[in-house]
């Protein structure tokens, strides 16, 4: 009976499943965060208005070309292949024997960064032009405008897409088994290799993946609601105000 086997597999291997799931979540989380930071930086650089002349213009052009190549390349190739190239390539080219965990983080981060760069760029472009103009009109430069006015709005706007990316990463870390990262898929493969119960073992993995992505999705929805804040505000009486301000 399958059900009995499923229970037996869980009972016998739960520490391994747990460790695999933990590693999957950890790689996905760190990868998404670093990827989002890469994406933010790349997105901001790609929306700097081109200076009219001089060395800065050339420098910006060169950086933009490099960023384009990065984005196109990592969006245009499968992560499973990127993992092989980076892990074995680093050993071949630089003689570095890379820790598989570090390799996993690097692959997920730069892959996510390529997608996030486009998401962030879209987020910046969709912020009303008036917000930039108002910030410039009170004398803010590009960095101040971005940091104080535009990016907070961008981050709110790209939160759903970032959550999406996180969910994708939880699932896609499974391809990292090709470089022997002991994440959930790799662990499941070894468990099923021992008991020869492929369906039951992977069914358990399936459930674990689903629970992880489902919980993450709920948490992100909750965060979105929190960020939007309450629809109410309190009117402030004058005396109260002065007290608050004089502190």
């Amino acid at each position: 009976m399958s059900l009995e086997w499923i229970i037996k597999i869980i009972a016998e291997n739960w520490p391994m499943f747990l460790r695999g799931a933990g590693l999957t979540l950890l790689i996905a989380l760190i990868g998404t965060i670093i990827g989002a930071v890469i994406g933010l930086i790349a997105g901001v650089i790609r929306t700097i208005p081109t200076p009219e002349r001089g060395a800065k213009r050339i420098l910006l052009k060169v950086i933009n070309i490099i960023l384009s190549i990065y984005i196109e390349f990592f969006r245009g190739t499968p992560m499973i292949v990127q993992a092989m190239v980076i892990y074995y390539g680093s050993a071949l080219a630089f003689g570095i024997d890379m820790n598989v965990f570090a390799a996993a983080i690097i692959v997920v981060s730069i892959n996510t960064g390529a997608y996030m760069a486009e998401i962030v760029r879209g987020g910046i472009v969709s912020v009303d032009k008036g917000q930039f103009e108002a910030a410039h009109a009170i004398g803010m430069n590009h960095v101040q405008t971005m940091w104080n006015v535009v990016l907070p709005q961008v981050i709110r706007n790209i939160l759903p897409a970032t959550g999406n990316q996180f969910v994708i990463n939880i699932k896609d870390t499974s391809v990292l088994n090709v470089i022997s990262v002991t994440e959930l898929y790799f662990v499941t493969k070894s468990i099923s290799g021992n008991n020869f119960r492929y369906f039951e073992s992977f069914f358990v993995a399936c459930l674990i993946y689903f629970v992880m992505t489902f919980i993450v999705t709920r948490i992100l929805l909750y965060m979105e609601k929190k960020l939007d804040g309450s629809d109410n505000y309190t009117l402030i009486g004058n005396e109260l105000n002065e007290k608050k301000l004089s502190k």
Partner: protein
């Protein structure tokens, strides 16, 4: 009219300003100056270049030729520090453009802290002072999306005033408002005008312009067609196109 102010400092002096989009000339050889304490309104039909002129003054649009002298210095000179110049000009937009991610108080504070490098406490004090002037001091915790158009515009005025600029620029500040909210914004602006603030106002509110202006500039097809005191322009316009425009807009 304030006699004897003729020799006062020209804060902004525009000479032979040109602006075109491709082959379409929006501004043609504009010569125009503003003295300290003066309230200048720019009137004219849509597409006459009024807003473009105002946006050229604080460099939101880049003029193609001519000079804009600010206290005698040409700010169109490439070496000029744009951000530093802009902090001396306050701008009020037709669409308010309050920072959506900040509440009312923070909208008026963020520029002071980041650009003028004031301390938070000082900036809040200044902001509260100007929020009181526009009657929005009770709403400091509200987010922009929770305010009506008139309220937003009053906060936007307070935000600009908080930077304590030399000149305030108003780009059709009441054009995006529901009719019943126009009054509250105009009232604030009237109070400011009588307080001695230097103001350049692009507006379609003719009664308001007639009342507050020290000088009225009438623009037509990218040119300054006529310029003079409020009385001159509204009572005795010399140009045919000015007369026609006023006949259309004044009932």
């Amino acid at each position: 009219m304030k006699e004897g102010e003729e020799r006062m400092d020209k804060i902004i002096d525009i000479q032979h300003l040109n602006k075109s989009y491709g082959s379409h000339e929006v501004l043609r050889d504009i010569n125009f100056s503003v003295n300290k304490g003066e309230v200048v309104t720019i009137i004219g039909s849509s597409g006459s270049g009024k807003s473009t002129l105002l946006r050229c003054i604080n460099l939101l649009e880049k003029a193609n030729g001519g000079q804009i002298l600010y206290h005698g210095e040409n700010i169109l000179d490439n070496k000029h520090d744009v951000a530093n110049y802009r902090k001396h000009l306050g701008m009020v937009f037709q669409q308010f453009n309050l920072f959506n991610n900040h509440n009312v108080l923070k909208n008026c504070v963020v520029g002071q802290v980041k650009v003028l490098k004031r301390s938070k406490a000082e900036a809040e004090k200044v902001a509260m002072n100007y929020l009181k002037v526009v009657g929005m001091d009770q709403y400091i915790n509200a987010m922009p999306k929770q305010l009506s158009g008139g309220q937003k515009q009053r906060v936007a005025i307070a935000r600009a005033l908080s930077m304590e600029p030399d000149v305030m620029l108003f780009d059709e500040p009441t054009s995006a408002l529901d009719p019943e909210m126009v009054g509250e914004v105009l009232k604030v602006m009237k109070d400011l005008a009588s307080s001695g603030l230097t103001m350049i106002i692009v507006t379609h509110e003719m009664e308001f312009a007639r009342e507050v202006s020290d000088r009225v500039v009438f623009m037509d097809k990218g040119l300054i067609a006529e310029e003079g005191s409020s009385e001159q322009i509204f009572q005795h316009p010399t140009q045919e196109r000015t007369r026609e425009f006023l006949k259309r807009t004044l009932k």
